[in-house]
Assembly symmetry: C2
Homo-oligomer: 284 residues x 2
Amino acid sequence: MTKTWSTPPQEALRVGPGFDLAALDASSHPGWEHGRSSAENKLEADGNRLSEVQERLYAHGRTGGSRAVLLVLQGMDTSGKGGIVRHVLGMVDPQGVQLRSFGVPTEKERSQHYLQRIREALPVGGRIGVFDRSHYEDVLVVRVNELVPREVWEPRYDEINAFEREVVDAGTVVVKVMLHVSPEEQKARLRERLERPDKYWKYNPNDVDERARWPAYREAYQAVLDRTSTEHAPWFVVPADSKWYARLAVGALVLDAVESLGLDWPPADFDVEAEKARLDAQPF
Amino acid sequence: MTKTWSTPPQEALRVGPGFDLAALDASSHPGWEHGRSSAENKLEADGNRLSEVQERLYAHGRTGGSRAVLLVLQGMDTSGKGGIVRHVLGMVDPQGVQLRSFGVPTEKERSQHYLQRIREALPVGGRIGVFDRSHYEDVLVVRVNELVPREVWEPRYDEINAFEREVVDAGTVVVKVMLHVSPEEQKARLRERLERPDKYWKYNPNDVDERARWPAYREAYQAVLDRTSTEHAPWFVVPADSKWYARLAVGALVLDAVESLGLDWPPADFDVEAEKARLDAQPF
């Protein structure tokens, strides 16, 4: 039998008042008391279920429905965002996934409001949208590196909450995930990228510079979690030193989000019997 | 041991001079002398290989490379285009796939040259682009339903060849696939959509009207194959009454296309040893 959670991740990992990022062990497995192979079995089972409910969501979108899911992925370099996309979102029909990676803004993007490129990438009805990095970079890398003065980034937390309120009111379930990797594990993963020629392409010398600012990033993440984990769009902090745990947890969070929509197959908007007769009447 | 092709699909299914669509049995399995379960094993093996070479292609794109693959999928309703996306492209990392479905042009698209929306959707370097329907609709549905006069659609074959020449010259391997389903199998698949409430959403009454124009569509497809199966961007006609065969064949064609790029892992554009030293020197 497939083993399951002792506490579901939507409870065990949710950021509430008083959450302390520095106190969370990145190698822990909250809510999961079994090992890796049980987790892999559970993820496979969740993937099959996700594939089913995702098809219902897609059908809903194809028949004019506006409900959607948005997964926001944040985390330091090497925290495993790409692996989540590959191994979790890879379990569902590519037609149903709308993926967008946010890098350094282009010149055009810089000339616009920072939420403009985010708005343009929101999932359309019926899709699971995935943001690999997001508008949160505008209060993370931007704050840590002082790319704009405090009076510019400070109001953004409230703006982001208001923006996400709009998104949720329009029918999208927003799931925000921070993949939490320890500095030690990050160092080991960067080392691996430098040791394996098939991983060189993932390495960027700037990652080491950013790493030096770890304490400032932790502070900036803590501020994000304190100020933007709302009732309508909560944060989940996923310990990510064990990749298998992070994938299991994010898979469960996405599945829960799609299931929470409670969608059934859309009814026929045509006369089924009349269409059968029309089809049968054709000579071939 | 995994069974394999007697003739590889890139030979067995390629459209050359004198190809006659009406003479091709949609339930045949050219080049494959084994059954369904051997085909499923082979597709899984091909999928693992595809996942590997696709990652090299993606790495190439991430380091500034411009090579790409474009899979163009055409076929009548129910021919299985969506299933190809789900089961074949679903085997690779969603980050590496750039999928675009072309429906009835929007008002804005209608005001532009018919190739404009196609150009905008071409895969960027490092991606496998997939067109679910394409610019070929502008010489298929448009021709069959006389949406524009002959003097407008007639020159399009040459325009399309010239356009695809540009795409290929820019570094993209173009694989054009027509999924060939028989009228009998199509009728059975439409019937199933009318019998299963979980499939109603896939049914469109217009499909039955289009079906009545089958002979005209066959003629229009024959013209496409006669006039646009070029050396640089050949067509492959895949018998699609057996879904397992169609998926096997398209999987093999896509794998061959990515492998034909002959890409290796990109070299480091930084000093590996210096970076190791920099990383090791950090206190955490």
